[in-house]
Symmetry: C2
C-alpha cells in the first residue's frame, strides 16, 4: 500500500453516482477546480480508497469553495493525484490544469543535475520552453538538453530511437540523469524504452500531451518501439518516477487525436467499469466539446482503472491483457494498413467493434450492448469498421505474431456477460472469429 502520511482524512461527500456529472457545469464536485472568494484556503487531502485497496486517490480542493468557475490563471490549482501502487516502483499521476506552471511538482522527481527532454516537432514549439522553465526555475544547478524527433507512429522505430541515444551520449549524460517524455504515446513509448536501456536504466518522467497518452499509454510502464512486422514487439516494462498530466495541453490537440484517446476511455467502461461507461454515454457531447471538468473526470477515472489493473498485474500475466480489448484486431489494422494512417485509437475503435461482434456471435453478450458500443463510438466520431482494404488474410497474418499468441493459440479479449465484464481467452469457437473477419472484410 502507498503511504498515506500527510494525507488528512476528511469526510466529504464524494460523487459515486456516475451520472451525476452529466451536467458538469452545474454540480460541484472535487474533480473540478473551485473559485475561492476568500484568499485564505485550506488544503485538504481527500482520500478515496477503492474496493481493492490497491490504489489511492488524493484530491486536493479548496475547502470553502461555493461555486464552480475557472480558476484565475495566477492561482495554483492543486493536482488530483492517482497513485500507482507497485511497491518500490510506485509513483504518482498528477492530474490538473496549470500543472506545468508549478515547477516544484516536476522538480521533486528529477534526480541528478542533467535532464534530457524527448519530444517531437509538433509538441516542441508549443510546450518545450514551458517544460524547460518548469525544470529549471529556481533550480539553476539543473541543465536541460532536448531532442526533437519527427512526429508520427511511423517514426516509432529503432532508427529514431537511436537519435535519443545519440543525443544522450553526445551530451555526456550519466546514470543519474532523468529523461522526460513530452508528447503523445509514441514519444512516451520511445522515451521510456530509451530510459530503460540507456546505461541499463535511468530515471524517467512522463508529461503526456494527448488524451491517448494521458488516459492510457503514459501509465503502467509499457515502453517500446515497432518492428516492420508488428507493433510494440521490442520494448521493456519500465516505470516512470511520475506522470504529470497538465490538462491545459489538450487545448492544442487536434479533434481527431482527441477522439482517438476517447477510444481508450470507452474501453475502460466496457471491460470493467459499467458506471463509467454509463457516465460516458451521457457526457460524450461534453467530452467532444472539451469541457474541462468532464475531461478531468474522464482522465482521472481512466487512470484509476489503469492503475488498479497495473498494480494487480504489472507484467501482463493475465488481467492486464484485458486492457487490450480491440487491440489485437486494431494492431492488425495498423500493421496491415500502415502505421500512422489510422491513429491508434481509431484502429482500436474498429477493433472493439469486431471484438464485440465476435462476442455476440459466441452468444456471450446481448444485442443491446452491441448497439450501445456502436452508438458511443459514433458519438465520438470514431470508426466502427476496419478500412475497406483490409482482408481476412491480412488480419490472420498479423494476428499470428501478436504478443497474445501463446504456444500457437491466439487469445483474445472478448466481452462476456453484463456491461463491464470481459474475458481473456483462447477458448472460443474459431468459426466465430472467421465469421467476424468475413463480416468486416470484403475479401
Amino acid at each position: 500500500m502507498a503511504s498515506t502520511a500527510n494525507a488528512i482524512s476528511l469526510s466529504l461527500p464524494t460523487i459515486h453516482n456516475p451520472s451525476s456529472l452529466s451536467k458538469p457545469k452545474s454540480l460541484p464536485d472535487f474533480y473540478l477546480r473551485f473559485h475561492n472568494p476568500n484568499p485564505k484556503f485550506t488544503r485538504v487531502g481527500l482520500s478515496v480508497t477503492n474496493p481493492s485497496n490497491r490504489i489511492r486517490t488524493l484530491s486536493t480542493i479548496r475547502a470553502s469553495a461555493a461555486s464552480v468557475m475557472e480558476a484565475s490563471s495566477k492561482e495554483k490549482a492543486l493536482p488530483t493525484i492517482v497513485e500507482v501502487d507497485l511497491g518500490t516502483r510506485s509513483y504518482p499521476i498528477y492530474i490538473g490544469s496549470g500543472l506545468l506552471d508549478q515547477p516544484e511538482l516536476l522538480q521533486r522527481h528529477v534526480h541528478g543535475k542533467r535532464v534530457l527532454v524527448v519530444t517531437n516537432s509538433t509538441v516542441a514549439p508549443l510546450y518545450l520552453d514551458k517544460v524547460v522553465d518548469a525544470l529549471t526555475r529556481g533550480n539553476p544547478s539543473v541543465s536541460v538538453d532536448s531532442v526533437i524527433l519527427p512526429d508520427g507512429e511511423k517514426y516509432k522505430n529503432m532508427e529514431t530511437l537511436m537519435k535519443v541515444f545519440d543525443k544522450a551520449i553526445e551530451s555526456r549524460l550519466d546514470r543519474r540523469c532523468t529523461f522526460v517524455a513530452l508528447g503523445g504515446g509514441v514519444i512516451g513509448d520511445m522515451c521510456g524504452f530509451a530510459a530503460a536501456s540507456f546505461l541499463r536504466g535511468v530515471n524517467f518522467i512522463q508529461i503526456p500531451t494527448t488524451v491517448m497518452a494521458q488516459v492510457d499509454s503514459s501509465v503502467g510502464g509499457k515502453t517500446g518501439i515497432n518492428h516492420p512486422l508488428g507493433k510494440n514487439l521490442i520494448g521493456a516494462f519500465y516505470q516512470p518516477q511520475c506522470v504529470l498530466i497538465d490538462t491545459d495541453t489538450l487545448n492544442t490537440l487536434p479533434d481527431r487525436e482527441l477522439a482517438s484517446g476517447l477510444a481508450e476511455v470507452i474501453k475502460y467502461g466496457l471491460i470493467r467499469d459499467a458506471g463509467f461507461f454509463e457516465w460516458q454515454e451521457k457526457n460524450m457531447p461534453a467530452l467532444m466539446a472539451r469541457d474541462p471538468s468532464a475531461m478531468a473526470y474522464a482522465i482521472k477515472h481512466s487512470c484509476e482503472n489503469k492503475a488498479e489493473v497495473v498494480s494487480l498485474d504489472e507484467k501482463e500475466g493475465g488481467l492486464r491483457a484485458t486492457l487490450n480489448l480491440g487491440h489485437t484486431f486494431g494492431h492488425a489494422i495498423e500493421t496491415g494498413f500502415g502505421y500512422g494512417v489510422w491513429l491508434h485509437g481509431e484502429a482500436v475503435a474498429a477493433g472493439m467493434v469486431m471484438a464485440v461482434d465476435m462476442s455476440y456471435r459466441l452468444g456471450w453478450i446481448d444485442d443491446l450492448l452491441v448497439k450501445r458500443v456502436h452508438n458511443i463510438l459514433e458519438q465520438a466520431k470514431l470508426p466502427t469498421s476496419p478500412p475497406d482494404t483490409m482482408t481476412v488474410e491480412m488480419f490472420k497474418s498479423v494476428m499470428a505474431v501478436d504478443k497474445k499468441v501463446a504456444d500457437g493459440l491466439l487469445r483474445l479479449i472478448l466481452l462476456k456477460g453484463p456491461l463491464g465484464n470481459c474475458v481473456f481467452t483462447g477458448d472460443y469457437d474459431r468459426k466465430a472469429l472467421d465469421d467476424t473477419l468475413r463480416a468486416f472484410c470484403k475479401s
Copy 2:
C-alpha cells in the same frame, strides 16, 4: 535465501586453504570429478554457505570416490552448482564437464515449446547441434530455431541485434519462448538484451563457451550492446533462468581468448579475494595449460565472487562497480583503439595495471603489490600497458562518457590497503590520474 530443499547436509572436509590446489592432480577435493570404482553411487548435496549467507554452493560428488581421474565420457558428471540469490529472480550456475550431454539440466529451465538459440559463426559449427540435441532429446514437443551472428565485438551493435529480433518475429515466437545464448560474452550480452526486449521480456538461458563469459559476463544479468561512442551504453539488467557452463567447451578456445578470460579471474583476487589471488599465483601455469581441475576451481571461485557481489548489489549502486577494476581504462582502450582489435580481457589487463599504478601514486598500496600484478599478468601472457597509439586525450575523451561518471565526477575502482581491498571513488587527487595517463601514453 534460496531454498535448500532436497539438499542433504553432510559434513565433509572442504578446502578453505586457497593454496591447497597448487598441485591439482594430487589432492582430491570436491571441485573435481571422481572416478567411482563402484557403479552404484550416492548423490550428495554438499552445502557450503559463505560468510555473507547470500550465496550457496552445492557440490555433488560420488561419495565413495578414492582417486582423481577423468571420468569416462559415458558417465554423467554431476555439476557443481553456484546459486545466484536474487529473490524471485534467483538462478543456478551449473559448472562441470559434459553438462551438454545431460539434457535434463537445460530442459528443466525451458518454458514454453519454442526456443531460439543465438550463436555466432565460430561457435555454431562446434556446438550448435549438441545444444539443439540437448534441448530436444526426449522432448519432441520443443522446437528450436537458431540465428547465427557474425563473430566479434565489432558486431555487438544495434544492427546485429535487429537480426535476432527479425529471426524471432519471422519464427513467430511468442512470450513463452526461451532465448538461449551459446557463445562468448558478445553473444551473451546481445542475446540477453534481445531476450529482455523481445515482447518486453522472454525467458533466457546462458551457455557460455569462453572463460571470459564463464567467469564474468554470463553471470549477473548485465546485457547490452555498444554504441559507436562507447561500450555497453545501451542495455538492460536482465537475469537468466540458468547459466550452464560445460567446461569441455574450453577445449576449442584459442589461447588468446583463454588469457583474456583469466584477466577477470585475476581481477576477483585483487578486489576481494586475496586467497584466490595467491592460489592463482601458484597455479597460473596449470591454468595456462588448461588443467581441467584448476580451470574448474578458477571458474567456480570466480562465479562465487561474482554471484555474491551481484546478490548484494544487482543494479550497481556501488559495490558491484568494484567488479570493473581496470575496466574504465580498458573501455577507453577498446573504444579508442577500435572494438575487437584487443580482446576485452586484454584491455582490462592493461587497464588494471593503470589502476594499480594510480593506486600506488596515491600512496594507497605498496610497490610489492604493483610487482605481483605485473608478474601474474605476464604469466598469463596478458598486456601490461595500453597500445602505443593511445594518447592522454583519447583516454580522457572516452572516460568522460563512461557509465561511472556521476554528475560530472569520474569515479574509479582503485586498490587501497592490503591485497584484496579496493574502493570505488571519485575522491582522489586528479594529478595522480594525469600522471598515470602520461606515464602510459607517449603523447
